[in-house]
């Protein structure tokens, strides 16, 4: 969209600056406070990493971080496989039913609270003991939807004639998949998996409802929620900074691997 007057361009730029300020000031504030010696937002008393060492010494937080990684890694791995298969399955079908589309789309749009209580009731009525495994099972639901969405986007521009050529040359179906299809879609699979990983690391509501008793199934977001409930503490700022670094890294990688994951 060209031909804009300098005045228009200036006001559009000013608008963007204002929106980015709104989006980033709260985050930057937390990061800055996490290095504040005194810890309280009331005054800057000097640079310090003591809140980070306080975090490292906190057994509950370490255990929650490990649980979060277990949940995110396993649910992402399962979702990467299932989501890729799902995407391949849908994109190779000639006719895509509306019901199928809705089923695959649903986990992304269904309000978290509804899915969370549905799963809680389900596990509770079936008397499935709840713990990390129920969080993992539940996270796969939305993770696989995101992986399949990213992989499907890549498959839409996929030239199926290469797989036909491979088959014509006598390659077994699996060989074709491993040697032709997979390498072509792998970046999308990894990008989708990284996205799923981020979602899983940050997911609170479903984990909160489907977790079992005790530290054994407390994830980091659950720990953060408990800490916030008990007030504003400097440790939360440090923890928030670390969690954001993980998310941002995974997302940047995802974006690099597959241009257009976050932006079309």
């Amino acid at each position: 969209m060209a031909d804009r007057s300098p005045a228009t361009r200036r006001s559009l730029a000013a608008l963007l600056v204002a929106v980015f300020a709104f989006l980033y000031i709260p985050i930057v504030t937390l990061v800055a406070l996490s290095f504040n010696e005194g810890g309280m937002p009331t005054a800057w008393t000097g640079f310090s990493v003591k809140w980070y060492s306080a975090l490292m010494a906190n057994r509950d937080i370490l255990s929650a971080a490990i649980n979060t990684l277990i949940v995110a890694v396993i649910s992402t791995a399962i979702a990467a496989v299932l989501g890729t298969l799902l995407a391949l399955g849908i994109e190779t079908r000639r006719r895509k039913g509306r019901a199928l589309e809705a089923l695959v789309f649903a986990p992304m749009i269904i309000p978290d609270i509804v899915l969370a209580i549905a799963l809680l009731s389900f596990f509770s009525l079936l008397k499935v003991p709840m713990g990390l495994h129920t969080i993992i099972l539940s996270h796969v639901v939305f993770n696989l939807a995101f992986v399949s969405a990213v992989v499907r986007a890549r498959l839409k521009s996929f030239d199926w004639s290469v797989t036909e050529a491979s088959a014509d040359l006598g390659a077994p179906a699996f060989t074709t998949f491993r040697r032709v299809t997979l390498p072509l879609i792998l970046p999308a699979v990894i990008a989708g998996a990284l996205l799923a990983f981020t979602l899983s690391v940050d997911e609170f509501i479903i984990a909160f409802f489907t977790a079992g008793a005790g530290r054994a199934s407390t994830t980091l977001p659950m720990q953060i929620f408990a800490m916030i409930r008990f007030g504003v503490t400097p440790e939360i700022n440090a923890l928030a900074t670390l969690v954001m670094i993980v998310s941002v890294t995974a997302l940047t990688l995802s974006q690099r691997l597959n241009k257009g994951v976050l932006a079309p």
Partner: protein, 277 residues
Amino acid sequence: MAPALLWLTALMVVPCGLILALGFFRRGLYGGIDYTFTLENFALIIDPLYAGIFLTSARIAGLATLIAVVIGYAAAYAIAAAPRHRQPLLLFLAVLPFWSNYLIRTYAWIVLLNREGLITQALRMLGYEGEPPSMLYTEGAVITGLVYNYLPFVILACYAPLARLNPELAEASRDLGASAFTTFRRVILPMTLPGIAAGAVFVFVLSVGNFITPALLGGGRFQMMGNLIYAQFLTANDWPFGAAISMVLIAIMMGLLTLQAIAAEKGAGERREGANG
């Protein structure tokens, strides 16, 4: 694809079906479920108290949606108007906060808004000496939190159709003597309506179903449908009623998605017309 569909069926379709069924049973005296068929949970939904909560949460969510759409659309427009090579980075930066932890993003506003918080400190530093304003635990704080959390999605949803927009169309409209505003209203807006609608549905449904933001930024003074569902499951132990409210939430979402699909059809129609004319 079978294992994935099986997974979705077992852990999404069946549990959601279960919730639908639960809505027709009675709550046991001490929580739990008394398996007698009843419609009283759905009758309770039109009870003035609960209907009132739905309306209030619809109002708060509606305001959040309106604000998020106006700001988000403007930001998406500004990004689409930026030099082409800068657009991916701008969009990535706009969406990035969306993928960081929701609790943390909400908590940041507690730090900023509380009476002894950063904004008050800043005002005092600027020489303000009066009673600090009460910003946290207000409807404004809840709406700010919702807009803040969902804005990136609106930007993303609105950017896609704006970026696809053929600049020649707008030019043609202007060449035919239409004012900039008329061009926007008659050409640009209809063609980007599906993006706006998608963003709006998303913000509205997630806001209505939210329970964290009203709890943390509203000081428990505001109830969204999400808080009500949460309370039925974790405090009132009335699962059947909680299930019934969830179904209402899903029904609202499906209704809005249908409207969005209609908007998308209409947008596609406008695009065809635009292409032909």
